[in-house]
């Protein structure tokens, strides 16, 4: 899989993303009995030991929900800390969290959350609206240096508060801002009022995000960065931290002070930090592990036949970047030729074998959005394009270098691309693999010609895939700049009619992958893993998100 070190922001929106579009009512109504439907059918589970062990894949850097950025951290913090609202384990719809209900003003600007009176910290202290207000202050505090502080930017004054003291685009230091100017207000102990800068249709989805969870400020003040240790960590989620042995295991135990403790079935959750997937697979076979969220590529043939193996679609694209600032890739014809001569199906079917979707488009299909088909495999046309660009039969084409970060799965794909380019266009591409940080550095500084890349959507909207290629975008990294593309993306941001908006995105994407091709899309990811059949309450979704609150263990047969 990718080594994306970012969080999948679960925004189960979205037909209307921006401004003035429908307020929170865009959410589909949740049936009142939704909770009964995610319960076990019988009481059999009570006979089983409610201990769930899974491989988290890496050692978390910290468990501070405001600081974490990686997926392994998120899998833990999401279960230690509970946000105002949370998401349905299967449909990802908004469901109540700490707030039992909420209201949105008619203009979509004011959210009033009514907190549960029985919400408590894991040390038994009551959890109040002030906790949220102060926690969000810490998130926005420049000194906290929280990467996901921008999640609160829709809130009035939040951006100014977060950016105080830093240099603005004019080179002048921004003035200090008092927190009172930020639109977060604890009306009383159980009422939190949030005022937005402008209407934001997906604010509830943001509110369900980890970074916006309350943190125990008194504990943080007393212990500093070390408050996340088992002795000191205080949280408000369904689980609390029982044990943390670095590089060995992390144990979460059921939080007896959690307001919904009767619903929580697991008593203990063990997270293993195994980086070696072969080791993890062996432990799974030996019964030491209930869930692996990835499987070793080399053993896929065998694993595919295990009943525990699962695959499901995922919101991510595997692609290559061209550095369009240097010859020969400053010519769109060359880029198109290099893409059109690739038989993607051979890669997904014969090499990766896990059901990845070969893609000549960039954005995975999502509700309401069907990406343009892009340029399919056409060897003859590719050769003609290359000839038009001045390299008939690949003659005179310089030897270019392909960069990828060292990982077997990337290597296999890169080698195959090189082979297809040689076979179909007659050009020579040499391989260079780099260790992760060097690779990042080279890609960000455009010190490459062709480079492997991947993008996992932050939310269920084409924007998360397409806006990265605007001129000067922080993750563009291709040197590509196109005024028409920029205009289209800006237009989509303004467009209120969902249908028209999607059409604008389609036009932008057509420009991206049928004409300009600063990127060479290869395939759409799938989630793949192994789950013991004794695990209940686990649902697949495009975000690969499985809250532990809903899980249980069935007795082995």
């Amino acid at each position: 899989m990718t080594r994306t070190a970012h969080l999948p922001l679960v925004l189960a929106l979205v037909l209307a993303l921006v401004a003035l579009a429908a307020p929170a009512s865009a959410q589909q109504a949740l049936p009142a009995d939704w909770k009964a439907k995610v319960q076990p059918e019988s009481d059999d589970w009570k006979k089983a030991r409610q201990v769930f062990t899974f491989n988290n894949g890496a050692e978390p850097e910290t468990l501070d929900p405001q600081i974490v950025t990686g997926v392994p951290e998120h899998r833990l913090t999401g279960n230690l800390f509970e946000t105002l609202v949370t998401q349905h384990p299967e449909t990802l719809q908004t469901v109540p969290g700490v707030a039992e209900r909420w209201e949105v003003s008619r203009d979509g600007l004011v959210y009033t959350f009514h907190l549960r009176k029985n919400a408590k910290w894991s040390d038994g202290q009551p959890l109040t609206a002030t906790d949220f207000r102060d926690s969000w202050q810490r998130l926005l505090e420049p000194a906290t240096a929280a990467q996901y502080a921008y999640m609160l930017y829709p809130v009035k004054g939040a951006e100014a508060y977060n950016k105080q003291g830093s240099e603005g685009p004019d080179g002048v230091k921004r003035p200090a801002v008092p927190y009172e100017q930020v639109g977060v207000q604890a009306v009383d102990a159980h009422t939190l009022r949030v005022t937005l800068e402008r209407p934001c249709a997906y604010f509830l989805d943001l509110a369900a995000f980890d970074s916006l969870a309350p943190v125990p400020l008194r504990v943080i003040r007393a212990h500093g960065d070390r408050w996340v240790r088992p002795e000191t960590l205080v949280c408000n989620g369904p689980f609390k931290l029982g044990e943390w042995r670095p590089n060995q295991r992390i144990v979460l135990v059921k939080n007896e002070h959690y307001w919904d403790r009767d619903f929580v079935k697991l008593e203990q959750v063990v997270a293993l930090p195994l980086e070696d997937m072969d080791t993890a697979f062996k432990m799974f076979q030996q019964g030491e592990c209930d869930w692996l969220n990835d499987v070793p590529l080399g053993k896929l043939a065998e694993i595919q036949r295990l009943p525990e193996f699962y695959v499901s679609p995922y919101l991510g694209t595997y692609f290559y970047r061209f550095n369009v600032t240097k010859k020969p890739f400053d010519d769109a014809r060359v880029r198109r030729a290099l893409s059109m001569c690739i038989d993607r199906e051979a890669i997904t079917r014969d090499l990766l074998r896990a059901g990845q979707v070969p893609a000549t488009w960039f954005t995975p299909a999502m509700p309401g959005y069907e990406p343009p088909r892009g340029l399919g495999f056409d060897r003859e046309r590719a050769r003609r394009l290359l000839a038009e660009a001045g390299y008939p039969d690949g003659k005179g084409f310089p030897t270019v270098e392909l960069l990828y970060n060292t990982l077997e799965a990337h290597k296999v794909v890169a080698e195959n691309l090189v082979q297809q380019w040689r076979e179909n266009l007659g050009i020579t591409v040499s391989l260079r693999n780099s260790e992760w940080k060097v690779y990042l550095n080279d890609v960000q500084h455009l010190q490459y010609q062709i480079a492997r890349a991947a993008w996992i959507g932050d939310y269920l909207d084409p924007n998360t895939f397409l806006d990265m290629f605007v001129t000067g975008g922080g993750n563009n990294n291709t040197g590509w700049s196109n005024a028409r593309y920029d205009a289209l993306i800006a237009q989509a941001a303004r467009e209120l009619d969902p249908k028209k908006r999607m059409a604008v995105f389609q036009e932008a994407e057509r420009l991206l992958i049928e004409e300009e091709m600063p990127v060479l899309p290869l395939y759409i990811y799938v989630n793949k893993g192994l789950l013991k059949e004794t695990v209940g309450g686990w649902y697949e979704n495009v975000r690969d998100q499985h809250p532990l609150k809903y899980l249980w263990k069935e007795p082995a047969e």
């Binding site: 080399g298 499901s312 014969d350 693999n433």
Partner: protein, 469 residues
């Protein structure tokens, strides 16, 4: 100074007799001679790899995947193009003079499904591509067949007229099955039968082209669907004697090239260490006194640096170039060499022949490099033979931690990297073991042999030094 390993060696006899003596002794040592033969053989294979390799080691016939040794298949490429007026695309020799080429192609459209059966009922059907869940696979249309893909890659007997549906039992036509299992099924909408493409060529260019007798301009067939290929009436198949890897590349060819990389790394890194070590050690030993103390103190200090760490830092800093690897591995190996050579020079420089050379007006450099260094050759040779395998093993360690180097930007792997991917591919029941066994044997055998040869040389060149260093 601690110089325990540097007890003075026996006075060298006259050069020629020393080497003749050594050779005589070496010949008596069967293991060493065996090692010598293997080393020479492996080196020859490595040097001649481009001519010996039966296949292009970088070309993967992807549709093959990992196939066991002695697997054979029609001689085609991943994609085969024939167009009137153009030469056929084929990078393998043997087509230039062909006059008729026929392809027997199975043009069946196939979709693959993963069917999960639990307690005798189908609980999930998923199209493999895209992992999309579906409710039923209907193969009742005429000509439709369902084929099971078995664990070993072979296909089960075709089932016709069956429907697989979730929440229903598996159709009886699939035979007796366990209560819960997973099967991979291909749904084929079968064409009439194999299609025959025939091309006539002249001077290597396609004159005309037919599909089942009908003339066409161009054809494009995938290697996976070709059942048979005939060139001038003889069937063309080829055999992968050691099987293929997961990308469908010929393992034998890859091992040959792998040896080239591994031995190249071993030898060049050793030469680097040799040059630095000999010069440094010789100067230190010859100068003696304060200079010697200082130089050896530096060596002592460098000995305390975790060398692997240094290699890693060098590779991280200066990129993953094979020359960096040579230098990095060589630069950490020269220390021992410097110590050994210094010890030798220390004892040699008191000898009469040095005095004689000095009397005849030879300068210090001349004495050092014309008279003294050649006399340390024995020890140097021994140590060299033992360094090469050590370096090869270190390179494999680097491959394991993900710092493998690219050989000239091509998709070739060293032995260490081949062994590593063989290990990754090894199934829990020992499936695909050939991917591990073949490169491991090549590597281990070479390392054995170098070690045996090194031991033998040590015994032969300097019987009193046996067991030291």
């Amino acid at each position: 100074m601690s110089a325990p390993a540097e007890t003075p060696p026996a006075a060298p006899k006259k050069g020629t007799s020393l080497w003749q003596d050594a050779w005589r002794r070496l010949k008596k040592n069967h293991m060493a001679m065996f090692g010598l033969v293997v080393v020479v053989f492996m080196s020859a294979l490595a040097v001649l790899a481009p001519w010996l390799a039966p296949f292009d080691a970088t070309y993967g016939e992807t549709w093959l995947g990992a196939q066991p040794p002695r697997f054979d298949h029609p001689d085609v490429l991943n994609r085969n193009f024939l167009a009137v007026g153009h030469p056929p695309t084929h990078i393998r020799p043997g087509y230039e003079d062909a006059r008729t080429i026929t392809f027997e192609v199975d043009e069946t459209q196939e979709t693959e499904y993963r069917v999960r059966v639990q307690r005798r009922r189908v609980t999930e059907i998923r199209r493999v591509e895209g992992a999309i869940k579906i409710d039923r696979v209907d193969a009742t249309s005429p000509g439709d067949v369902l084929v099971e893909v078995r664990e070993d890659g072979s296909r089960g007997g075709p089932v016709t007229g069956a429907v697989i549906e979730t929440k229903a039992p598996l159709p009886e036509a699939f035979g007796e099955r366990p209560a819960s299992f997973v099967m991979i099924v291909r749904h084929a909408q079968r064409a009439k039968g194999p299609v025959l493409y025939t091309a006539h060529l002249e001077n290597g260019v396609v004159l005309d082209l037919t599909r089942d007798g009908v003339g066409i301009d161009r054809m494009e067939v995938e290697g996976r669907s070709v059942r048979k290929v005939d060139v001038d009436g003889t069937e063309r198949r080829h055999t992968h004697w050691l099987g293929t890897d997961l990308s469908g590349r010929d393992l034998l060819s890859r091992i040959l090239y792998g040896g080239r990389i591994s031995l190249l790394v071993g030898v060049i890194a050793t030469i680097v260490s040799l040059v630095i070590g000999v010069v440094y050690g010789a100067i230190s030993g010859y100068a003696g006194g304060k200079v010697d103390d200082l130089l050896m103190a530096i060596v002592d200090i460098l000995f305390a640096i975790p060398y692997m760490f240094l290699v890693i830092l060098l590779l991280v800093n200066f990129g993953r170039d094979i020359t960096i690897l040579f230098v990095a591995l060589g630069a950490v190996q020269w220390l021992t060499m410097a110590r050994i050579v210094r010890g030798q020079i220390l004892s040699l420089k008191e000898k009469e022949f040095v005095e004689a050379a000095r009397m005849s007006g030879t300068g210090p450099a001349g004495i050092l490099f014309r008279h003294l260094v050649p006399n340390t050759l024995g020890v140097v040779v021994v140590y060299t033979t033992l360094t090469v395998p050590a370096v090869i093993l270190q390179e494999s360690f680097l491959a394991f931690i993900g710092l493998a180097v690219e050989y000239d930007g091509q998709s070739l792997d060293s032995w260490g990297a081949l062994v590593k991917s063989g290990m990754d591919a090894l199934g829990s029941d020992g499936e695909r073991s050939w991917l591990l066994v073949a490169p491991s044997i090549a590597m281990a055998l070479t390392l054995f042999s170098l070690n045996f040869l090194g031991d033998g040389l040590r015994d032969a060149l300097d019987p009193q030094q046996r067991g030291r260093t």
